[in-house]
């Protein structure tokens, strides 16, 4: 506990946590109201833009990332970058529905009775129904 106290001697007063909480609530209300306009861009912006802002505010003020040494921030950012990298490497495969010698039957537009069709039954017991 000596450590925690020593650390906080550097900055005596706490930020106004209740005020930050109030701002977070206002943001929450906006993010709920945003989709009611039923404009796709506004929905995305109010939903995810505000999520990023809220996460930033919590991380900065509640988790005190603003007074941690910089490399803690870099560490968190590195982990997020790895996740972006993961997304970038995987999305081209997972978001496709057919490729070299494969199809995902659920989504393909293949003709009935062929391998790609969702109702295709490999052993042919029900294969005749669709004709």
């Amino acid at each position: 506990m000596a450590e925690a106290a020593a650390h906080h001697d550097e900055h005596h007063e706490h930020p106004n946590y209740v005020r930050i909480w109030a701002i977070l609530l206002v943001l929450l209300i906006i993010s709920v109201l945003g989709p009611m306009l039923e404009i796709r861009v506004v929905t995305l912006l109010t939903a995810f833009g505000i999520a990023v802002v809220k996460a930033y505010m919590v991380a900065k003020n509640f988790m005190h990332l603003n007074i941690e040494p910089r490399y803690v921030v870099y560490l968190m950012a590195t982990m997020l970058v790895f996740m972006l990298l993961f997304f970038a490497g995987v999305a081209p495969d997972v978001m496709r529905f057919e490729g070299d010698n494969w199809v995902k039957p659920m989504q393909s537009t293949a003709a009935p009775g062929t391998l790609g069709h969702p109702d295709f039954v490999p052993h042919g017991e029900a294969g005749g129904e669709h004709h």
Partner: protein, 568 residues
């Protein structure tokens, strides 16, 4: 507050109370005991993994024979044996021994601390690891037998009991792997925090022995890469037990997703186990060449660069899985790029030897063998990293021989190098050098005779994971069968020579020459305390560090070594 020393450090650390055997050796929080627990558990699992290899190699060389100590191998048993051989050797041998055992033993000793920062979390880490090993072993005895879907556990084979025929085995295997991950996350956090915060007075970041850097980088790589696979394992568990369809393409899932989640972890994992072995070699070579480690900072930054780059190469395992061909180009380039830093590190090690006064004791032989054998593994990897060549080589014994030429140097040679080098510190007695050399040559020569034939067979088109090659006329030609027999006989010879090692350990523990504090005339801090180190490691006086760890044959000094803790 760069170097704060807590007032409690001045207080004596001598409170000694007698503890019972169980408390002292099974539930200890002392980092040295936990290291031994990891070491012995890892080696016991290694014997099980080696036994599995023996059984399925016998089946391949002499199909249908009644294997001594096992019996006739059925096709399902064969699948289970190869799957668990791979999983055990990586998750229950390489990681616990190289990272957990050496990390636990060396980190506090080498940085001049009395223990890890969180001793009880350390103990918890081992306990979870132990339970994970028990769960894995239990999976062989449930209905349907152990999991047989290969250590990569690709769905749909792993996700659906109707395909894998191991309704319980597959889930127990997955649970065991997940528990093992938890154990190493706890251990890794402990390692990283200890190295960052608990260095003794005077130890700057470039005064840290290379093996510690490598263990820490490996722990961070593990931490950063395993997350998606933990998420993926939860999803696979749901597919197995709850009936979701995350990986089932006919129901809106995607089997490729698992492959990506697995290899996003699986490839950095190669470097997770490689780097500690590289670090062990980096710490042994200067001692037996009596020469400063060449290019300390270059090695460090190269290792960090390798770690970052290792996150960008994973899809080279999936070139023929139907991934986007444009992505295959990208992953070919990054894969070939990553051979550059690793080759650079091998050159740096050779440069360390150049002009040195080399002593060929057993640990040095292992260290040299590591570089030589790992180079073969690295060079054959180039063929597999290039997507064009990989289409031909994919899933052949060429791949298998390639990664055994990387993992064997890492897990086996690296371990023997470390154990023979630090054995005097761990147990206070020297190992027999002659027996050590017999064991060395008895391991290295058969090792090459196992896997060089497998390279040839792989290039001839021999596919992996085939139970009985006599069913395939193209693969059953007499010369191919002869090479299989050669590989199997070499394996048996190699395993027989391991008895020399165990004999050596037992004889040395009982009758070995007393080691004294610093038998190798080494510089790092662990050699400044008693062998074996007492509880608390350094008594009342913690060492202060005055210089980097590899000052050998310094021109201003009479002796050819210069311990880190000497003021001048």
């Amino acid at each position: 507050m760069a170097e704060t020393v807590h007032p409690a450090e001045q207080a004596a650390h001598g409170e000694h109370h007698e503890e019972g055997w169980v408390k002292k050796y099974l539930f200890s929080t002392d980092h040295k005991i936990i290291a031994m627990q990891y070491l012995f558990t890892g080696m016991a699992m290694g014997l099980i993994g080696a036994f599995f290899a023996y059984v399925f190699r016998m089946q391949l060389a002499f199909p249908g024979m009644e294997v001594p100590f096992f019996g006739v191998v059925s096709a399902n048993e064969y699948n289970s044996l190869i799957t668990n051989h791979g999983a055990i050797m990586i998750f229950w041998v390489a990681m616990p021994v190289l990272i957990a055992a050496f990390g636990n033993f060396l980190i506090p000793l080498m940085i001049g601390a009395d223990d890890m920062v969180f001793p009880r979390i350390n103990r918890l880490s081992y306990q979870i690891f132990f339970i994970s090993a028990l769960v894995l072993l239990a999976s062989f005895f449930v209905e349907g037998g152990g999991f047989g879907g290969a250590w990569t556990a690709y769905p749909p084979l792993s996700a659906n009991a109707a395909y894998s025929l191991t309704p319980m085995g597959a889930t127990l295997w997955l649970v065991a792997v997940a528990l093992e991950f938890v154990a190493f996350l706890l251990g890794g956090i402990n390692f990283v925090t200890t190295l960052m915060n608990s260095r003794t007075k005077g130890m700057g970041i470039y005064d840290i022995p290379m093996v510690l850097w490598m263990i820490i980088i490996a722990s961070i790589l593990f931490m950063a890469s395993v997350g998606p696979l933990i998420a993926g394992a939860v999803m696979l568990f749901m597919d197995q037990q709850v009936g979701t369809h995350f990986y089932d393409p006919t129901r809106g899932g995607d089997p490729l997703l698992w492959q990506h989640l697995f290899w996003f972890f699986g490839h950095p994992e190669v470097y997770v186990v490689l780097l500690p072995a590289m670090g062990i070699v980096a710490d042994i070579m200067p001692v037996f060449a009596r020469k400063k480690l060449f290019a300390y900072r270059t090695i460090l930054w190269t290792a960090i660069g390798t770690g970052v780059l290792s996150f960008t190469v994973w899809a080279h395992h999936q070139f023929i899985a139907g991934i986007d061909p444009r992505m295959a180009h990208v992953f070919t380039i990054t894969t070939l790029l990553i051979s550059i830093p690793i080759a650079e590190m091998c050159f740096v090690y050779i440069a360390t030897l150049y002009g040195g006064s080399i002593r060929l004791n057993t640990p040095m032989l292992w260290a040299l063998a590591f570089v030589a054998e790992f180079l073969i593994g690295g060079v054959t990897g180039i063929f597999l990293g290039a997507s064009g060549a990989d289409i031909y080589f994919h899933d052949t014994y060429f791949v298998l021989a390639h990664f055994h030429y990387t993992f064997f140097p890492i897990a086996i040679i690296g371990t023997y190098a470390g154990v023979t080098f630090w054995f005097p510190k761990m147990f206070g007695r020297m190992m027999n050098d002659t027996l050590g050399k017999i064991h060395f040559w008895g391991t290295i020569i058969p090792f090459n005779l196992i896997f060089i034939p497998l390279f040839v067979l792989g290039a001839a088109g021999q596919h992996r994971r085939i139970y009985d090659f006599t069913n395939y006329p193209m693969l059953a030609e007499p010369w191919m069968q002869d090479l299989r027999v050669l590989a199997t006989v070499s394996l048996v010879v190699m395993l027989a020579f391991q008895l020399v090692f165990f004999y050596n350990v037992i004889v040395s523990l009982v009758r070995g020459e007393k080691a004294g504090k610093n038998p190798w005339k080494s510089n790092t801090l662990e050699w400044t305390t008693e062998s074996p180190p007492p509880h608390g490691n350094f008594g009342d006086q913690y060492p202060t560090v005055y210089r980097p760890p590899y000052e050998y044959s310094h021109p201003d000094r009479e002796e050819d070594y210069w311990p880190q803790n000497l003021p001048n």
